[in-house]
Amino acid sequence: MVDTTSHTFTGPHGPKPRKAFSRRNIFLYGTLLVVTLYYALPLYIMIVTSLKGMPEIRMGNIFAPPLEVTFEPWVKAWSQACTGLTCDGLSTGFWNSVRITIPSVILSIIIASVNGYALANWKFKGANVFFTILIFGAFIPYQVMLYPIVIMLREIGLYGSLTGLVIVHTVFGMPILTLLFRNYFSSLPEELFKAARVDGAGFWGIYFRIMVPMSLPIFTVAMILQVTGIWNDFLFGVVYTGPESYPMTVSLNNIVNSSQGVKEYNVNMAATILTGLVPLTIYFVSGKLFVRGIAAGAVKG
C-alpha cells in the first residue's frame, strides 16, 4: 500500500512513540527483576558454592564467584560421599531412581490412558461412579495410607523391594492421570470415535489407531508429571525400600543430613544439583509441549 498522505503532510508521523521509562514500565520491570532475583539467587549460590573448595567457603563470601574453580565436590558427591555406612556417593541412588522411575512412569501412563479412554468414550454402566471414586482417591492424604500399604506389600512379599515401590507409584498416579486423560479424550470430537466404530474398529483398534496418535501432547504432560513426581518423591522411597535400594532423594538426604564429620557445603550443593538435574532437563526439553498439553486437557471437564 502506498501512503499518499506522506507527500502532503510534513509533520511527524509513524506510530506514537512510547516512553521507555514510564512509571508503568519501571514498576512492571522492577517487580519482574525482584521476583527473578528471588528465584535465581539460591540457584546461583548453589552453583557457585559447589565449585569452591572448603577453605574458600569458610571465608564466608557466599555471593562471591569461586577464586579457584574445582570440580572435586561434584566427583565426591557422585561417587565418594558417605551415606550412612557406605561411601559410594549418589551413584547408587541415581540408578535406583532410574530403575524406579522408568517402569512406574510407563506403567502408570499405560493404565491411566486406557482408563481415561474407557471413561471418556465407552460410557459403560457405572462409569461415573467409578470415576467419582477414583477422583475421591486423589484427596485422601498419603499419610493415611502409608501403614496399610506397608502391610499389604509385606503380605505379598514385595516390601522393601523396587517392584513394591513401582506398584505404589503406579497406583498413586492413577487418579490425577486418569482425570487428565479422560478430559483430553473427551475434548476430542466424539464423531471421530463414532466414525471409527462404523468403520469396524474395536476397543483396542480405536485406542491405538485413532486416539493415541492424536494425543502426543497429553502423553507428554503425563510423562513430565510422573517423571518429576516420582523422581522427587522422598516419602514413599524412604518407607517402602531398604538401604540398598533407596532412591536418589533419600541418598541425598543421607548425605546432606549426616551428623558426622564436618559439613561439606560444596559437596552438599553439588549433590543437590545432581539430584534436581533430571526433572530440570525434562522441563527444558519438553516445556513447550507441556504447556500446550495442559491447555488442551483443561478445555473440557
Binding site: 470430537p189 464423531e191 471421530l192 463414532k194 466414525a195 471409527a196 466404530r197 462404523v198 468403520d199 469396524g200 474398529a201 483398534g205 489407531r209 485413532i210 496418535p213 492424536m214
Partner: protein, 359 residues
C-alpha cells in the same frame, strides 16, 4: 422384502427423558428419506440408533430384513457421514478411506480398487496422499462421503453433512449428493434442519418433533397438505400466515372478512363448523391483474417492504393481523401504498384451533 430399513416401536430414554417414543418408520429400497426437524427433535438420535451408535431402550431395527437392533455398527451394512467430517487427522485421505476396509480384513487388491472407484466418483484422486488438514471443507466432506462409499453398503446415513459448509458450497454438494443417489440407487437417510435441503433431496420427508414423526410424505404433500399447524409453520420460507377465526356456513369468518371455502378440500369430505385457524402461504397470495380471478379479495396498506432480489416481501395487515405477501422482485411498490390482494382458498390450509390438526 422391499423395505431397506424398518423401525418398529422404537423407544429411547436417557434416564427419565424420553427422546424417542414408539417410533415406526419404513424406508424402501433406494429411497432418499430426509429426517427434518428443529434441534432437539430427536432426528440425529434416531439416525444414531439406526447406525448402532446408541443402544435403544425398546423396539426393533431391521436392515435388509435382518434384525440388527443389537448388532455392532460395522455389522449393519451402513455407511455414515458426519457433520464435522470426522476424518482421522493423522491418516492421509487414502488411509481414511481404507481404515474400515482394513478392519474388515479385505484383500489388498480389493481395497485398492474400491478406493480408486470412490475417488473417481467423488473426484478426489489428486488428494489421496494428503492429510485432512490440507483439505478445504468441501474436499473434507467429499472424503467423508467417500469413506461411506468404499464400504459398499446398501444404506447411507448422513448426519447434517452440509451444515459446516458455506452457502455456495452447500448448494454444490447438495446437487452432488443427489446425483450420487441417482447413480448408486442406495437407500439414503439424511438428517437436516435445513428445509431447502430436505425439499430438494428427499423422496420422502419425515418431519420430527419431540421424538415423534409428525408427518411422513413427499415434499409436495408436506408443503401442500401439512397435517398440522406445526408442520405448516415449519415448512416454507417466509413462513405461512395464520389468521384465527370461525367456520360458519361454508365460509371462514375473521373480523368483518368472509373467505368462501367452496373450493377447499376438507380432510373429512365436507365443511366443519367451529373455531379454526387458516394458513395462507405468502407465495400463494396474488396481486396485480391476477387478483380478479381470486375468490377472495381484500385491500391492504403496505407497512414494510423487504426486497430480496428475486422476490419482494410485503408486510401488511389483514383483519388486524400481521400478514406477509410475496410479490415479484420487479414490483414497484412503496410503504403506505394501498394494495389489492387475492387469496385462493383451495391453496390454503385450515386447522382446528384447539387440536391444530388439519381440517
Amino acid at each position: 422384502m422391499t423395505n431397506s430399513v424398518e423401525i418398529k416401536n422404537l423407544d429411547l430414554q436417557f434416564g427419565a427423558i424420553k427422546v424417542l417414543q414408539d417410533l415406526n418408520l419404513e424406508i424402501g429400497k433406494g429411497e432418499f428419506l430426509v429426517l427434518l426437524g428443529s434441534s432437539g427433535c430427536g432426528k440425529s438420535t434416531l439416525l444414531n440408533c439406526i447406525a448402532g451408535l446408541l443402544d435403544v431402550s425398546g423396539g426393533q431395527i431391521h436392515i435388509n430384513g435382518t434384525n440388527v437392533t443389537w448388532a455392532e455398527p460395522s455389522e449393519r451394512g451402513i455407511g455414515m457421514v458426519f457433520q464435522s467430517y470426522a476424518l482421522y487427522p493423522q491418516m492421509t485421505v487414502e488411509g481414511n478411506l481404507s481404515f474400515g476396509l482394513k478392519n474388515a480384513k479385505l484383500p489388498k487388491s480389493q481395497i485398492e480398487s474400491r478406493i480408486k472407484r470412490a475417488a473417481e466418483v467423488l473426484q478426489i484422486e489428486p488428494l489421496l496422499k494428503r492429510k485432512p488438514a490440507a483439505l478445504s471443507g468441501g474436499q473434507r466432506q467429499r472424503v467423508a462421503i467417500g469413506r461411506a462409499l468404499v464400504r459398499d453398503v446398501d444404506v447411507f446415513l448422513f448426519d447434517e453433512p452440509l451444515s459446516n459448509l458455506d452457502a455456495k458450497l452447500r448448494a454444490d454438494l447438495r446437487v452432488e449428493i443427489k446425483r450420487l443417489h441417482h447413480s448408486l440407487q442406495n437407500t439414503m437417510i439424511y438428517v437436516t434442519h435445513d428445509q431447502i435441503e430436505a425439499m430438494t433431496l428427499a423422496d420422502r420427508i419425515a418431519i420430527m418433533r419431540g421424538g415423534q414423526i409428525m408427518q411422513l410424505g413427499s415434499p409436495d404433500e408436506i408443503y401442500g397438505r401439512p397435517v398440522n399447524k406445526y408442520v405448516a409453520d415449519f415448512i416454507g420460507s417466509p413462513s405461512m400466515n395464520f389468521l384465527e377465526g370461525k367456520i360458519n356456513e361454508g365460509a371462514f369468518h375473521v373480523g368483518d372478512l368472509v373467505i368462501p371455502l367452496e373450493r377447499y378440500a376438507f380432510a373429512g369430505g365436507g365443511p366443519v363448523n367451529g373455531d379454526t385457524t387458516i394458513g395462507i402461504r405468502p407465495e400463494h397470495v396474488v396481486t396485480g391483474e391476477l387478483v380478479g380471478n381470486a375468490p377472495f379479495q381484500v385491500d391492504v396498506e403496505i407497512s414494510l417492504i423487504e426486497p430480496t432480489g428475486s422476490d419482494t416481501l410485503v408486510d401488511c395487515k389483514v383483519a388486524g393481523k400481521h400478514f406477509r405477501v410475496r410479490m415479484d422482485g420487479q414490483s414497484r411498490v412503496s410503504v403506505g401504498e394501498k394494495l389489492r390482494i387475492g387469496i385462493n382458498p383451495a391453496m390454503a390450509s385450515l386447522f382446528d384451533l384447539k387440536s391444530e390438526l388439519r381440517l
